[in-house]
Structures are given as structure tokens and as C-alpha cells.
Amino acid sequence: MEFTVQKADLVRELGLSQGVVEKKTTIPILSNVLLEASGDRLSLTATDLELGIRCSCPAKVKKEGSGTVPAKKLLDYVRLLPDGELTLKFLDNHWASITCGRSRTKMAGMSRESFPELPPMPEATAELPAPLLASMITKTIFAISAEESRFTLNGALLVIREDEGAAPVSVMVSTDGHRLAYIEHTGEVPPPKEAVRVLIPRKCMAELVRLAQEAGPESRVNLAGDDNHLFFQIGARLLITRRLAGNFPDFERVLPRDNTQVATLDREDIKAAVERVAQFADERSRAIRILFSANEVKVFTSSTDTGESEELVPSTYSGPDIDIGFNAAYLIDFLRAVSQDQVSFQLKDHKSAGELCPVGDPASFRYRYVVMPMRI
């Protein structure tokens, strides 16, 4: 195999594969990238067996074929080459020879045969705008459990459905058992061929955001699935992930219905207040207390070990006093993820789940964040 490619193209596509390539080498071939030249394109494939990516770039192919080289080493080297064209040629012993200007390099590669085969993508079942998907992911990914043991919560649920007579709805939900992030868009996706309800693993979500950003604001994501895999196609790039087994919890039941006490606050104010008070919260539990009273919200904590701190934030609140405990980290996660100027707390009492929402969004967009209180 022999081809010539623009350095910038190769660096860009290799960069996308870095998030997928296995870092801790248990199986050596997984730290390699598969290079395949055919027609007038070079395609690059990387996988860690959970997640796989296939992307491509234009190339002048002199001789078709394929081979693998260590992905990180290749990127690190190519990045340092001068801009312009470079030529890569695989030798008989699986080594790759790279020529660029006056640079000559031979890299140890591995046989293509041992590289895992990625499944082919079936017909797409749904389509959605890439920026929409990216925004849904960034607003939910932080609520995914980081622990490996409860794997059904190690991802977010994506639902695309079309109720009869209504516009199609796309929903993404994530939870770690203590809090839940829910985002819903109405009408921004074309009607799906069939209803979608899939669990997307956390690592895949992070890669999707990168791919969506790389692809630009106009691009679309095609979604498909087979029994074991999910496929996301963005332009010429394809991300394949193994499906998460198991059931996502019944989140509808968790969304509060009768949280009638509403306090509206300035997002920056409450965020700064929580961040400062949290410095004096217990290091492990991060517990702070919030006292909602007329026109004012008091964020406070006191600990015999570290000291005490309190902040007053003006708010529009007229309900009865509610003194409720929360994990400060959970609140900060949300307050950092929203961009609106104002947020609202919706409460029932100090024992029931609290809900946070950004204020002033169109009816077609709903972002809800449910946090369970702490008993302190």
C-alpha cells in the first residue's frame, strides 16, 4: 500500500481517533490505528472493542492496501512534520515508511489481520442535528454515574418518538441515583423511521460531542442500531459503540409533579454563593443547606472541623420557609451547565426531591434537573 496525503488532513482525522484508542495497552493491536487506502480516500479505524471510530480523508492512492501503526506515535510524529504532503508506504514486514520532504522514517507496525473487524452500519433509523445532540449531551453527561458497577446508569438514555398528531420529540436522560438530568426538544428532529430508545455509554457521548463540534453547525447525525451496537454517522465519520445491556430506571416516576414552591434566582449569584459555602462543607458528603424564605435564599453550612459560612441571595419566593440539604457538587454541576441568566428552584418540602430549571426557555425546550435532598 502506498498513498500521499495532506499532513493537515491526516492530523485532524488521527486526532479524532485518539479518544478511542486504548491507552492502557492490554491488547497491543488496540493501540494501533488501521489505515486503508482505496480509490481516492484513506480511511482510518480505531477501536478499544467498546467503542470504534472510522473516519477518512482524501488521498492520492498509488497502491491500494492496508496496515496498522501505533496511533499515538503516528500522530505525535506527523504533527511535527512541516505542512504539505507526506507519503506513507507499508513494507513487507508490516513496517510503515513515511516520507515527507527530507524526512524519512520507518515505523514498526503490526499485521492488519489481527485488527478487530468493525460491524457494518445498518440502515439509519433516525436523524438529528449534530449541534442538538451535542447540546443534549453536555447538559446531561455530568449526571452519569462514574462508577463502573451499576452499568445501566453508565450512560444516558436517548429517546426519539413521534406521538400521533404531535411533533417529534427527542429526550435525553441521565442519572446516578442521586440526581437526574432531563432534556427535551420538540419539533427539531425529523420524524424517525421508528421510535428510538437507546442507552448511549458515557465514553461514546464524549466522543460524539467532539465529532459534532468538528463537523460544524449544519451537520446531521444518522443513528442506527443492530443487536449489539449503536452507530452514529456524522458526515464521513462513523462512531460505533457497543450497546449497554439492562434497563434504564423508570425516570418518569421520578420527575416531580407537585413541586409548587418556586424560587427564581440569578444564576451567577446562586452559583457563586454555593461555590463559596461549599468550601466549608464536609469533604466527602459536600453537604450544604439552603433556607428558602420570603424574598431571600440563605445558603449555609457549619462544621465543627472546618468552620461555617453563609450567603444570602435575593430571590422571588413567597412560600413557607423550607430548610433543605443538598450536595453542593450536584448543584454546581447544573449551574455550570446552563447558560441562561436565571434559574428556578421548585420544591415541595425538605424531604422530597427538588427540581432546578433554567428560566425563560421556549416551550419546545425543557431542561429539568432533579436532585434528592440530604438529611443533615
Partner: protein, 625 residues
């Protein structure tokens, strides 16, 4: 003719012998106790062929008058009891009046005794329970009993005897125990002409422990100088003064890094009587709870002294069991006294330069056994020697400190200058010096290496954090301020029937510790809230672990134990794992917090936290001292 007959004495004695005289060691025990009861200060034991051929116990006690000597071989004849009231307060080791006739009925026995009140002594010979002769003889004061051919007339018993070495080991271990209990007396044990144990009267118990076990074991021990507790017993009737009973406990405890696989290294003496008692055994295990791993045992040498009325030794003929009148009081007293002592001393484990983690694994048994094996492998016949030479030093000379063999070293020219004298601190540093530790870095992102004035320390980051959290959780629990995080969706877990029983028992305690759980139908439990420090992902595991831990010793576990078990599970889950990189501030924080804990030497599961490579060892290793 009637079928029921009264058994002749000889038969009755043989039956009694079955209970009392099981093996040579039991004979030694009975004779030794008699010797000690007779107020002797020197006891000499000789055995041949593991005690099968000969057992001789000679003392310098009060001896017996001739008439008494003859009477002693009657069943239930004793000088130690007079009426039934005495049974309630037994102050002597023996009291049943069964031992001598029992032993006499299964062996050829010779008794030599002289009381100071008589001018001449008495020699009595009995074989198989029949009196052969009784003579007047010229004898020194005291009593000497020689038992030959044990079980010569009971072939069944003889067959069940183990090898000579095993029997000898039993005798040896017995003699050791009694020598520990009576540190002011001298003991000698000879086997086939070789000396096995020889201890001279020692001023303190510590000296005796040193004589018997040697310096290495003593280093690993914590001395309990004496704990006392009074128990007030309410008067039976009005007008009577309420009685006060004094319990006194002293002895030696091992540091937590000494861990034995069995209970053989626990010696309990109640009023100088060696006993095996489940109650006290449990108290000891409870004292080491959360200090050493479950399933391992400490080395302990405990002397419990109390009023004779408080303890009933008349439980079994072999007198190895006792019953306490106030069981739970004794149990708690022993547990608390030991625990306090352990907390107070805070000893730090050290790197032992020669790697010998199991060196005291089965003392004294193993050393004796080893010695016996050595003896067995020695040539049976001594080699003829022309010149008289001093006998080789016995391998185990308890009375003398071990001879230090200094390796021959070439003198190294001192080119680096002398080491400042004050750089060598007094050894025996405790974990108190954790306070001025300076972390240097991590080994494999798992162990913190730190330097201090007294040497180099290695700290296991996971267990260190575990200990910090454990105490924190217990404190929070005690203060009732537990931070509880409610769960979005209750976690429903399925229990086995066993776990269901456990759960029902500890439900309240779980709630107090922050687990809001609710029975949810048949053998199903819904967790609605959990301690904030416990991540939702770990909840199920933690809860099952708690239920699992509550199981093995279900009946004996107190609520306090359960509380500690819960805290231990939570702490273990929440603690920093190994293979975690820590930055400098985090390490400093960890060491500071560790130093502030009550018990920074082992984690709640009993693993050691910190190891010290003392300045002394470092200097030694570099041949500077």
C-alpha cells in the same frame, strides 16, 4: 440376685483416671499443681520417653506426714477441702482428691516425702493401685513422686498415646505455662537427661516472659501493668453490707501486627490456674476487634485475679474450664482493660530486618517441637570423647539472653565523619511520631513514603484513609449527625432467608447509621436513603457486606460490634484506593489526619497501616554502628 453392685475402689479409680489422666501431660499437671499447692519454691520435672517410661516431679514443699501419705491414695482424700462450703471458694489448684489414686491405679508409682515435723521421710510404692510397700526412709524435705510405666495396665490408653515427641511437647508447654503463672518460683524440666526449661525465680513477670520466650517476643508485647475494677454486689437481705469484689487483670498483649492462625498463643490464667474459657476468649477477640483481621488471633498472656467466690472451677475433672458468677461483668472488664492498654501504648510495627513474619506463630509449642525434632534427628548414641568437654549449650536456653554472633567485618576507614550522636534516637518509637512525618512520595501510587526524625516510614494509603474515615463515621454516629443522601429511586435488593434474619436484627442500627431501608415484600428490601459518603453505585455491595459480616458470629455480636462493622464497610468503600496518585498536599493531609486518629496502627479490618524503618536499623544496615 440383684444386678446392681457398688464398684470396688480399684475399678472406680480406673474410671476416674480415664477422666483425669489422659496422657503424660495430665499426670504432670496434677503433680505440678500438688507441688505448687504445697507451697514449694523449686519444682523439678523429669520425663523419659515423653513421659511414658518415667515422670518425676520433685518439689521442696511442705511434704506429708506418714499417715497422710498413705491416706492420700484413698479416693476423695485431700487436705485442700474440709466441707462443702470450701467448694464455693477454692483457693488451691487441686481440690478433688482424685488425682493421686487415679494416677496410682494406672502406673507404678513411688512417693517419697518428708514433712519438716517428722525426722524421717516416707517411701511408698504402689503399682496398678495396689500398695506394695511403705517404708521409713532418709529423705530431704518436700515431696517427690515418680510415675513409671504409665498405662502399663491399660493397653487401650497406651495405644492412643501419640509419639514421644508430641507427648513431650505437651508436657513442655504445660511446664512453660505454669512457670509463667508463678514467676517467683524456679522450674526445671528435663527430658531424657537433657534440659528443656530452666528458669530461676524472677522479680517480675516481664523477666519471666523474657526467660521463657526470649527477647524477640518480648519486643512485640505490650505490658498490662494492672487494671482493676470493683463490682458491688447488692446485699441479699436488708441489713447486710453490700459486698465488693475486686477483679484484677495484668499480663502481656501482642501488638496488632502479631497475628496467629489459632488460639494456641492465648494463655489465660484465672487465679494462677491455666484455663481455656470461651467467655474470656471472646473478650480477647473483642478487644482486638477491628485491630487484627477476623480469623486471626493475638498472643496474649493474661492473669485474672478475683475473689475465689467469683469463680467456680469445679466444672470438669480436668479443671480447664471455669464458670464466672458475673459473666458479662468479667467479659466487659477484660475486653475494656485490654483495649485501653492497646490504645494507650500505640506501638508502631517495625521492619524486622530478618524476614520472619511467622516467627512466633506457635510459641512456645513450635520452638519446643522444633527442638524435639532436632533432638530426634541427633545421633542416638553420644560419640565417644576422649577429653571431657563442656556440654553443648542447649538450643533454647531461656535463662540467658541470646548470644549475639557478630559477623566478622573489616574495619572501614571512616571517611565520612562520625554520625552525629543525637541522630540516633532511643528505639521504641511509637506512632506518636506520625505527627512530624514529611511525605516524600509514593511507591506505585499505593504506599506513601515519609521521613521523620526517627527513620523512614511507609504508609498504606488505603488503610490509612480507611482508619480515618472509620473513626470519623463512628464519631458522627455517636454524635447523631449523620449526613444522609436520599435516593432518586429506591434500590430494591433481594435477601436470602439468612440475610433476612440478619436484616431484621440490625434494621434499627442501619437506620441510625443512615440507611433508610424498608421491607418491601417477601425477603425484599428497598433502600431509600443512604449515608452521603457512600456512592449510589456502592450501596448494594456495602449493604450485602454488612449483612455478610453480621452473619458468622451472629449470636455473640453486640450492637456495638455491628455498628463498628457497618462503619468499617462504609470506610473501606469510601477510602482512597491503592493505585491512586496523591499530590503532596493530599499526602500531608492524610498523615496529619492519621496522626489525629485514636488508633493509627491498623485498619478496621486489622491490616497494619504504617511500617517504620528506624534510624537504628538504617545505621546498622549501613554498618555505621
Amino acid at each position: 440376685m440383684g444386678r446392681i453392685r457398688v464398684l470396688p475402689d480399684q475399678v472406680a479409680n480406673k474410671i476416674a483416671a480415664g477422666e483425669v489422666v489422659e496422657r503424660p501431660a495430665s499426670v504432670v499437671k496434677e503433680l505440678l499443681e500438688n507441688a505448687l499447692d504445697a507451697g514449694s519454691t523449686e519444682v523439678r520435672i523429669e520425663v523419659e520417653a515423653g513421659g511414658r517410661r518415667l515422670i518425676r516431679v520433685a518439689d521442696n514443699g511442705c511434704g506429708m506426714l506418714r499417715d497422710d501419705a498413705l491416706l492420700a491414695f484413698e479416693r476423695h482424700a485431700t487436705s485442700k477441702l474440709r466441707d462443702v462450703k470450701d467448694l464455693l471458694a477454692i483457693a488451691t489448684l487441686g481440690f478433688r482428691g482424685e488425682a493421686l489414686p487415679s494416677i496410682a491405679s494406672v502406673s507404678r508409682l513411688q512417693l517419697e516425702t518428708r514433712s519438716p515435723e517428722e525426722d524421717t521421710g516416707t517411701r511408698i510404692e504402689i503399682a496398678g493401685g495396689r500398695l506394695l510397700r511403705c517404708d521409713e526412709a532418709a529423705l530431704p524435705g518436700g515431696t517427690s513422686i515418680t510415675v513409671r510405666d504409665l498405662f502399663f495396665n491399660v493397653p487401650a490408653r497406651r495405644k492412643f498415646l501419640r509419639t514421644e515427641q508430641t507427648e513431650l511437647a505437651h508436657v513442655a508447654s504445660l511446664a512453660t505455662h505454669y512457670s509463667l503463672a508463678h514467676h517467683d518460683k524456679s522450674f526445671e524440666l528435663w527430658s531424657d537427661g537433657g534440659e528443656l526449661l530452666r528458669v530461676t525465680p524472677a522479680g517480675t513477670l516481664k523477666e519471666r516472659v523474657y526467660q521463657v520466650f526470649g527477647s524477640q517476643v518480648v519486643e512485640d508485647l505490650v505490658e498490662m501493668t494492672g487494671a482493676e475494677k470493683h463490682l458491688a454486689i447488692p446485699a441479699d437481705r436488708d441489713g447486710d453490707e453490700p459486698e465488693r469484689r475486686v477483679f484484677h487483670l495484668r499480663g502481656f498483649l501482642s501488638q496488632p501486627q502479631v497475628q496467629k492462625a489459632n488460639r494456641n498463643s492465648i494463655y489465660i490464667f484465672v487465679n494462677s490456674r491455666l484455663i481455656r474459657d470461651r467467655l474470656l476468649m471472646h473478650a480477647i477477640t473483642a478487644a482486638y476487634h477491628n485491630l487484627i483481621p477476623p480469623g486471626s488471633f493475638p498472643f496474649a498472656l493474661l492473669f485474672l485475679e478475683c475473689d475465689c467466690e467469683e469463680v467456680d472451677v469445679n466444672v470438669h475433672p480436668s479443671k480447664t474450664e471455669v464458670r464466672f458468677r458475673h459473666q458479662s461483668f468479667v467479659h466487659d472488664f477484660v475486653r475494656d482493660a485490654m483495649r485501653e492498654q492497646l490504645l494507650e501504648s500505640r506501638p508502631a510495627p517495625v521492619f524486622s530486618p530478618p524476614p520472619s513474619p511467622q516467627r512466633a506463630a506457635a510459641l512456645p509449642y513450635s520452638e519446643f517441637t522444633q527442638m524435639l525434632i532436632d533432638q530426634a534427628s541427633a545421633p542416638a548414641m553420644p560419640e565417644p570423647v576422649l577429653r571431657e568437654s563442656p556440654p553443648p549449650a542447649p538450643r533454647l536456653d531461656f535463662s540467658a539472653p541470646p548470644i549475639e554472633v557478630k559477623p566478622l567485618r573489616l574495619r572501614v576507614p571512616d571517611t565520612h565523619g562520625a554520625f552525629p550522636a543525637d541522630a540516633i534516637p532511643a528505639s521504641g518509637a511509637s506512632l506518636e511520631s506520625l505527627v512530624d512525618l514529611r511525605p516524600l512520595g509514593q511507591i506505585r501510587e499505593s504506599f506513601i513514603v515519609a521521613s521523620a526524625a526517627d527513620g523512614l516510614w511507609i504508609i498504606d494509603q488505603h488503610v490509612a484513609h480507611e482508619r480515618i474515615l472509620f473513626e470519623q463515621i463512628l464519631k458522627e454516629r455517636a454524635a447523631g449527625r449523620i449526613e444522609v443522601q436520599a435516593l432518586l429511586l429506591p434500590i430494591v435488593i433481594q435477601l436470602t432467608p439468612e440475610q433476612q434474619v440478619r436484616y431484621a436484627r440490625i434494621e434499627e442500627e442501619l437506620r441510625a447509621c443512615g440507611f433508610d431501608t424498608e421491607p418491601f415484600g417477601n425477603r425484599t428490601v428497598a433502600i431509600k436513603a443512604a449515608p452521603a459518603a457512600c456512592s449510589a453505585a456502592d450501596l448494594e455491595t456495602v449493604l450485602f457486606e454488612i449483612l455478610e459480616n453480621a452473619e458468622p458470629e451472629a449470636r455473640s455480636m453486640s450492637m456495638d460490634d455491628i455498628r463498628r462493622a457497618i462503619a468499617a464497610s462504609l470506610a473501606c468503600r469510601a477510602a482512597i484506593k491503592i493505585n491512586t496518585r496523591l499530590d503532596q498536599t493530599k499526602m500531608e493531609w492524610l498523615l496529619r489526619e492519621l496522626a489525629a486518629t485514636d488508633y493509627p496502627m491498623s485498619c478496621p479490618h486489622g491490616r497494619p497501616i504504617a511500617l517504620r524503618y528506624g534510624m537504628h536499623e538504617i545505621l546498622k544496615a549501613f554498618h555505621r554502628i
